[in-house]
Subunit: 315 residues, 2 copies
């Protein structure tokens, strides 16, 4: 099986504090309590900090930190959101820019849970003996396309990128639980449509649909992590999740019956960076020395779509 040998990140230079949104209406009917806790977030420069640029910078950071030859990467899996190029995708240019000349590129999009879906695939690909070293790249520059629109979700959105190198040797993967609710209501309640079909630029938005209540949007997804914990004798050292609000993270801790001291997040610093949140948060607490080799991490992400995934991973 595999282990994570390095995580690199890129954060845009522009820090935006809450005052920027004084005029914005960030209320979510009935669920605003879950979205609180923002202090600042990064906004990528629409010209100089594209999703490709940030992905390359995160990839180079990961390679440099562990002194890994870019040519030794066998596979790059991940996603740039939104893609400037729909077919082929931006991720190919990330591979090129980072000098990963021997890496094949598999773009895999499962919205906010993409990092965990990719970690699952990376571990399985290595376990199958086919490849030795995978780089998962998640790069999100979604604020720019939203900036000229009003959006309830905009204030919590942040830009940034992470690159996670997973390689042969180790037994980090401990367990996984994932489900898809395959539910049209949930699907249409969170949506970025393709302007190729709509004829107009649209933004990712959360639409309050009568049949989709807070229970279904916030509480139900964490059941995958709950199921996983219930069959494990191993208690996790830390809980790291996709972050759309501090209230939501604490609500999940309650359902998991985990002590709040196990929660690690970077929501006040970076907000909701879609699939980039988990590797960025892991990296933050690895760099600070809090997360050490051998610690067990309960990772969890819900995703628009809707995909709920939890992985127990020994770092």
């Amino acid at each position: 099986m595999a282990r994570i040998s390095s995580i690199g990140t890129y954060h845009p230079a522009k820090i935006v504090d809450n005052d920027f949104f004084a005029a914005a209406d960030s209320s979510q009917q009935g669920i605003e309590k879950y979205f609180t806790g923002m202090k600042e977030r990064r906004h990528a420069d629409p010209i100089d900090e594209s999703g490709i640029f940030m992905g390359v910078r995160a990839a180079l950071d990961a390679l440099n930190k562990a002194d890994i030859d870019p040519a030794s990467i066998d596979l790059i899996i991940g996603c740039v959101v939104p893609n400037q190029h729909l077919c082929p995708e931006d991720l190919n240019l990330v591979a090129n820019g980072a000098g990963c000349k021997n890496a094949v590129v598999y773009p895999l999009h499962s919205a906010c849970s993409s990092f965990l879906s990719c970690l699952n695939v990376a571990d399985a690909m290595i376990a199958s003996g086919r490849i030795n070293r995978v780089m998962i790249v998640n790069s999100n520059h979604w604020v720019g396309p939203m900036a000229d629109h009003d959006s309830d979700t905009f204030p919590i959105a942040g830009d940034g990128a992470a690159a996670t190198i997973v390689e042969n040797g180790g037994d980090s993967f401990l367990d996984i639980e994932e489900i898809s609710c395959n539910d049209e209501d949930i699907f249409h309640s969170m949506q970025l449509k393709n302007p190729l079909f709509t004829g107009k630029k649209e933004i990712f938005k959360i639409t309050q649909i009568e049949s989709v209540d807070n229970e279904r949007l916030v509480s139900k997804p964490i059941n995958v992590a709950r199921t996983l914990l219930d069959r494990q004798t191993l208690a996790p050292d830390y809980f790291i999740a996709h972050q759309a609000g501090v209230g939501m993270l604490k609500h999940w801790m309650d359902i998991l019956e985990l002590d709040e001291s196990k929660l690690r997040h970077t929501f006040p610093l970076y907000g909701n960076m879609m699939s980039t949140n988990i590797p960025v948060t892991m990296n933050h607490y690895i760099e600070s020395g809090e997360i050490k080799r051998g610690d067990t991490l309960l990772l969890f992400s819900p995703a628009a779509g809707a995909h709920y995934i939890s992985i127990l991973w020994r770092y």
Copy 2:
């Protein structure tokens, strides 16, 4: 390891013959000889035959053929091209429409090679013991978005969908060879841009770039299949590839030094359906009785991006 237990397809009702393109200029400077051999192709109805609709129909066909319970599918991997929904993606609605209520959905996009990338991932995921049954769905409705544009690539484009069920038990996977050329010239020579960034609808097009000659576009990719064959003592029974022209397929046979009697394709019937070509062609010759259980298939696809992949698979 795994085996393919069922392939289902959906072909739009509307058959379009060459006369339709009497006024169209389908010449590709210097490489027109590779693109010949079209007779007819299918065009999806833009309203009634969306990528989602066709994907569902192909999925139901695959499930029905082998009398497989939709609830037994653990994972749906594949792509709808182009996506009507960018995040989350159309594939989630295919899962929903086909009743695969327990399937998680991993959209994976590597252009024309997506089916083979997915077959690789599906086999590895099953080999890792994590899951038992995967459905690969490839659905392409790219003609519609192109129809109001002039395009050199339009006459060879066809719409359609395929669903391939891969499950535990069997030793079908024999070998793989894949490379990425990670080359900006190749990347930009074949492109569908995101109108979210360009502000205008654009189509997938092949742009003749001076530095990209026929050698690089047509001849170089097949080297992965050549490398694979050179290390195998096993001679394939059939060669099935992504199809963009009969001339190109025959050219590849020459480079592989395979007898033309081993070539199987459906280009005159369906044209270039991107990642859907290989499963559609496999299904066509399985249904006709030519491809039998135990036959070895050399599968190959180049992809815009550029990803070149070849898998030796015992059906």
